[in-house]
């Protein structure tokens, strides 16, 4: 009986605690948000920072953006939700962030946009951003936005680095000219991926004319084993340089195991494969975060779409692995980046590639009718294919041509 009373007492105490907690947390909140110079921003992530790649790249940008805005007297309070793929959980997270007082909510993955768009109409004063997608800028809502970066520029430069290494191997007699084959591990046969590896290939070809490329799709954005298997298959097929558009470092480690080289995406992969990984390119989201948050903070509204490149500092290259890169890579890289910045060099210069032996002179970029077939927006003019062209077209990639010199080993939709 004594035990029973003790238990009951404990119960009463705990409930009393809870009751206080419920009431106690209320008054603390308004003080926080009313604090001068503070703005809340939300970020909905497909993964978490442990991926050391895609989501980590966003988390890193939240920190740099916070620092940058702090210098301007704006205190950003980030609220981050993790591991949300699509569907209702994404909608719930957006709703929760809006309720929590976030003025801007960023969704970091393509698949989150449809769910985000179901919540946006209920919160007209909150700005919603669907990164890498294209449904928000063309809808009727003023508070939905898209954003991306001209990552093809970074891929092109990574391609130049890879091409220089291949050309050096040819010049040293390590491989014959026709053995300069790149193996590319792609996620899906999707414009974003196609655009990326084509830019990469063109970069390599600009310094190593005999280069060819094989692409193996894995049918997943993030599957370490499949990516490793694809990289191994490419090595077995004679590829001497591996690159990737997928989330894991296993293509880099597989390249190292096979004694070939590698360039990566989203993350510095030098630590994972010091003898293989030469360089990576990544999007730096800091500028966009700063721009969007600052505009909202000042009471304005930012553009429905956003896309910047090297010139504005939205594309970054990771540290060059100078132990294994070809001689003169650093200088060449700087030269190419400077040309991209000035507009002298177009990544998709139509004179540098052909499709079925023909130079392309027209391409329709945007689907406005919702049938997934592009029906407006000419992307080719002045001798170049203008990818992720905004303002004018849109930030989401639309380059989906199969150019000569790139062999697709499979397809994955």
């Amino acid at each position: 009986m004594k035990k029973l009373i003790a238990i009951l007492l404990a119960v009463v105490m705990v409930f009393a605690l809870c009751a206080c907690g419920g009431g106690g947390s209320e008054p603390a909140k308004p003080d926080d948000s009313a604090e001068k110079g503070t703005i809340k921003a939300g970020l909905v992530c497909i993964g978490d920072e442990n991926d050391q790649g895609y989501t980590y790249n966003f988390i890193r940008a939240t920190e740099t953006a916070k620092e940058a805005l702090a210098k301007e007297g704006i205190n950003v309070e980030w609220v981050i939700k993790y591991n949300l793929i699509e569907g209702d959980p994404v909608a719930v997270a957006n709703e929760e962030l809006a309720e929590e007082g976030c003025s801007v909510i960023f969704n970091n993955s393509y698949g989150q946009e449809p769910a985000m768009l179901t919540i946006a109409p209920d919160y007209p004063n909150v700005q919603f951003v669907g990164c890498t997608n294209e449904g928000s800028w063309k809808d009727d809502l003023d508070n939905t936005h898209n954003a991306f970066a001209r990552i093809q520029e970074g891929r092109y430069v990574a391609g130049v680095v890879a091409g220089m290494k291949l050309q050096e191997m040819i010049d040293n007699g390590d491989i014959k000219a026709d053995e300069a084959v790149i193996g590319y591990v792609g996620a899906y046969s999707f414009a974003e991926v196609i655009s990326g590896f084509t830019a990469y290939y063109l970069g390599a070809k600009s310094v190593c004319p005999s280069v060819t490329m094989k692409v193996q799709f894995v049918g997943s954005w993030s599957d370490a084993t499949l990516e490793a298997n694809a990289a191994q298959a490419l090595c077995d097929a004679g590829c001497v340089m591996i690159s990737q558009h997928s989330d894991n470092t296993t293509p880099a480690t597989t390249a190292e195991k096979n004694g070939v080289f590698h360039t990566g995406y989203n993350a510095d992969m030098m630590a994972a494969a010091p003898k293989a990984s030469i360089i990576s390119t990544r999007i730096d989201w800091t500028n966009f975060f700063v721009y969007a948050i600052k505009t909202v903070y000042n009471g304005g509204n930012f553009e429905p779409d956003y896309c910047k490149g090297f010139a504005e500092g939205d594309i970054a290259m990771t540290t060059l692995n100078e132990d294994i890169c070809a001689a003169g890579t650093k200088e060449k890289m700087e030269e190419v980046i400077a040309k991209i910045k000035s507009g002298e060099l177009e990544v998709f210069d139509t004179s540098t590639f052909t499709v079925d032996g023909k130079t392309i002179d027209s391409y329709t970029a945007i689907d406005m009718t919702g049938d997934f077939v592009p029906d407006e927006g000419e992307a080719v003019w002045d001798g170049a294919f203008h990818e992720s062209y905004y303002p004018g077209l849109m930030s989401a990639p639309y380059f989906a041509l199969r150019i000569d010199g790139i062999e697709w080993l499979n397809e994955a939709y």
Binding site: G24, S25, N83, E86, V92, Y188
Partner: protein, 363 residues
Amino acid sequence: MHNQRAPLFHLAKRTSLSPARAWTIRLASFVVAILIGGLIFLLLGDDPVSAYGAIITGSLGKKVAIRQTVKIAVPLLGTALAIAPCFKMRFWNIGAEGQITAGAIGATFFALNYYDKLPSPVLLIVMGLAGAVCGAFWAFIPAFFKARWGTNETLFTLMMNYIVIGLVKWLQGGPWEGKPGSQIIPNFASSAVLPKVFGIHCGWIIVLILTIFIYVYMRYSKHGYEIAVVGESENTARYAGMSVARITIRTMLLSGAISGLVGYMVASGANMTLYYSVADGVGFTAITVAWLAQLNPFAMIAISFLLAILDKGASTLQTVMNVPASISDIITGIFLFCMLASEFFINYRLVFRHDSGKEAVSE
């Protein structure tokens, strides 16, 4: 001799326990869970009181929060109701996850292909029927194998989950994909979306009706009686002239149909699309709900709501207090563990060595 060999303590099944005592144990386990959870917050350097406060306000503090909490509870309750008859029959259906997914596929087929051909109410009913039929079909396969060849239903139903989830992945990237390469099935047209009642998709009304149905079915129908007999002893059932195979298949069909209906509600009401993790672990969490509720449908309402509060509240906790995201899983885990442990102590008791002799005599 006997006493020397006896271990420090052993477990003994309780013969009877007054309901008051049983509820005291349950309450105590709840308190223990709160205290252990509080300890975790203390270790993290957070104030446990405001942390629990955040959980409560986050799940029940606002209208929106309550709506979200109910939205989480709906599939949990629905699926717990679905598996209850199977568990009563001692048929371990852990394939609700797959049956939900199969139901969602059936509903999505009509949502994508008939959204402009049928009036909305008819379409929604057809989608619901399709969901139930597909869910039932997915449950029928392991049930048939069990009835015909005595296969192990636990493994069979579990593996069926992965097959159907793979099927959705294929549909997402294949025939039902929207923009080529996107791996995304377009959102349903508004005619294929469940209407809202009090701001929550009307699935909550459906599951409440189902609760009453299952209660009556299990307690007052001939079917319910047969299920109970088979669960107690298959031989008794056979001796009484019941066809165990028929009862097994029939019960699994019902279970799958309800799971399929849940899949329809989640796809049409909450997600408005189909994607591979449409079931999102509900099929497994519902097992806990069903057990904790002792297969009592009305208790399931309370348990699923409690778990939804924990789920939603823990998620808010992460947003407002910036605790690591995995803390919410840890807190939910602690509560589940303590609650399940309490059921253990209601059914068994520890007998320590000093009174084991006495115990032996009484046996």
